[in-house]
């Protein structure tokens, strides 16, 4: 079991790189985006399901058993993702999943010259707005931009954008919350 963090980093990089290459070979950019979304879900699922996480990292079970569980639990996911996760579980590297996810995102920019911008709105974007966001983000980040659109019916309005771990929050909810806080804290707020 390597304890050197550089070795672990290199191993995680191999998994991430394999995942990017396999997804692109299987279905181009759409497949890469699908793998990215599923990877995010699996990381989150893995954090909130301790029993599954313990099973997949427990050396008391054989590698084959751990791989079989991956295949069954994540059967709806893309096959290339299931394969890579299976190998990770089999080799006892499932703990590296968050790191693989991070490196996967880095490799998108490095290998494909693409930055994924997650855009959350209440209603779907129109083409004009899509174009404006893409142009602005491309100018700021210096790569091609891929919009990953999400609709959140709980939002009042506005837009939230996430890219490279940074969030630009221009949602009505946040603006109202900020206004509420300012009005409450300003002298005269308790009148």
């Amino acid at each position: 079991m390597p304890t050197n963090r550089h070795v672990e980093q290199a191993q995680a990089l191999v998994y991430a790189s394999t995942l990017v290459d396999a997804a692109q070979a299987e279905g181009g950019l759409d497949a890469v985006m699908a793998v990215r979304a599923q990877l995010d879900q699996i990381v989150s699922y893995n954090r909130s399901h301790v029993e599954l996480h313990d099973f997949l990292t427990d050396v008391a079970y054989t590698g084959a058993q751990r791989r079989d569980v991956i295949a069954k639990v994540f059967s709806d996911c893309r096959p290339e993702l299931v394969s890579v996760l299976g190998v990770m579980a089999e080799r006892g590297d499932f703990d590296k999943l968050p790191k693989v996810r991070g490196l996967f995102n880095d490799l998108l920019a490095e290998k494909l010259n693409v930055t994924v911008v997650d855009v959350t709105t209440r209603v779907s974007l129109d083409d004009h707005l899509r174009e404006v966001i893409k142009n602005k983000a491309a100018a700021d980040l210096g790569t091609d931009i891929l919009l990953n659109e999400k609709i959140d019916k709980n939002m009042l309005g506005g837009i939230i954008m996430n890219a490279n771990g940074k969030r630009i929050d221009a949602s009505m909810d946040t603006m109202l919350a900020n206004a509420r806080s300012v009005l409450k804290d300003t002298d005269g707020g308790e009148c």
Partner: protein, 526 residues
Amino acid sequence: MLVTEITAQSIDDALRKQLDSLDTSVESREVGTVIQVGDGIARIDGLKDAMAGELLEFTSSNGQTVYGMAQNLEEDEVGAVLLGDVTAIKENDQVKTTGRLVEIPVGPEMCGRVVNALGMPIDGKGPIHTVATRPVEFKAPGVISRQPVHEPMQTGILAVDSMIPIGRGQRELIIGDRQTGKTAIGIDAIINQKNEDMICIYVAIGQKASTVAGIYETLLKHGAMDYTIIVSATAADAAPLQFLAPMTGAAIGEYFVYNGKDGKPANAQNPGQHVLAIYDDLSKQAVAYRQMSLTLRRPPGREAYPGDIFYLHSRLLERAVKMSDEYGAGSLTALPIIETQAGDVGAYIPTNVISITDGQIFLQTDLFFQGQRPAINVGISVSRVGGSAQTKAMKQVAGTLRLDLAAYRELQAFTQFGSDLDKSTMQQLNRGARMTELLKQGRYTPMPFWEQALAIYTGNQGYLDDVAVEDVVRFRTELLDFVRASHKKVFEDLRSVGKWTDEIKAEANEAIEAFKKQFAPTASAE
């Protein structure tokens, strides 16, 4: 702002003021996800650009906002301590950076108030309308902006001011076992600052809330809350708050040191203010920090404290300062308190803090139960820099007191079982017993330096040699009352001249002799 009369104009003004402060710009912030939470600690995925000590904003699934402080910046994750409702935060909740270090509100508006470790009022007296803030962690001033300690910080306690004098800007440790009167020295020192133009900050760390309430009542009763701020992180508060509390106290104090009374930066024309900060006690802060560090998975060292426990205390106490005249000559005097276990000053935290501070006042349980209160062991108590801050009048009479008492104790130990003693030895033992008795002092009865000086002068000149030991304290009290009433000039001259002249000595002798004639020894003492 409480509006007593609501008019259309006042409503219009309030609304305009509030609307003017609205900021509709959009901020870009880094966002991470909580991957693990427990014991008041959260581990966060993301936040690659977070700063050490940065304020983090956690948003729980039900929309509640809880703040935290970034502590461990690791390769893949950030370890943070939660500063609010720890139960509200769950795995997968979002965390945002704020771009600010943890800071607290500060200002003169805080005087008379009790605040928590985040500077929020907890005394039920409503919000504190401060205009300034300061970071809780702040680098201590460098060599150039300081000057040596040279002004006295009178505690009003005879034993301290005479033998272990403290100067403004000094760091003097108060150390001793439980129930030896450590807090009492701090409280007496605060009470003595009345009319001294000194802001006092009492930081209660890991104490019972009832104890803090008692201290508040005591200070209020003695009129000391007008110039005092209490920072309280009780035993019920989370470890991070107990860890932060002393730094919060220091930050509040620094505002007064670095700013003049007009709130503008201190300089030669706009003098800074003087502050006395009491950290009660740093042993509990160390324990809270140990808990935090262990839950953050930092490697444990000696007594399971983390490796940087020395730096935690040294950087806090280094913030005590006497600023140079160019920077306004303000001062922050620190009186940290350390509780020892069974008198063991060689334990890890006591030795650390002893080595950091400019001296220590050592309190002993056996002295306390022998009735020697304050129970200061003058043999091992020391003030390394306070001597230069002592008033000349006190230095003249108390210069050799510490050594005389040490010699007395040594002699006492040798002669404990002997009966045949020569006259000079008997004389030395007599004098020592009376001088030791003279240093006894009740709580909340601080004495100004001129009264202290006269009391010691009386002992030095042998006026107490024929007074029974059990009468010494009464003699001192009645003598001071007598001089205050009928020989006021002695105190006035001592106060104005600041030293013993032949003339003052003659006046004092006359007053003491006059009093002695009328002093009635108690029947049991005769």
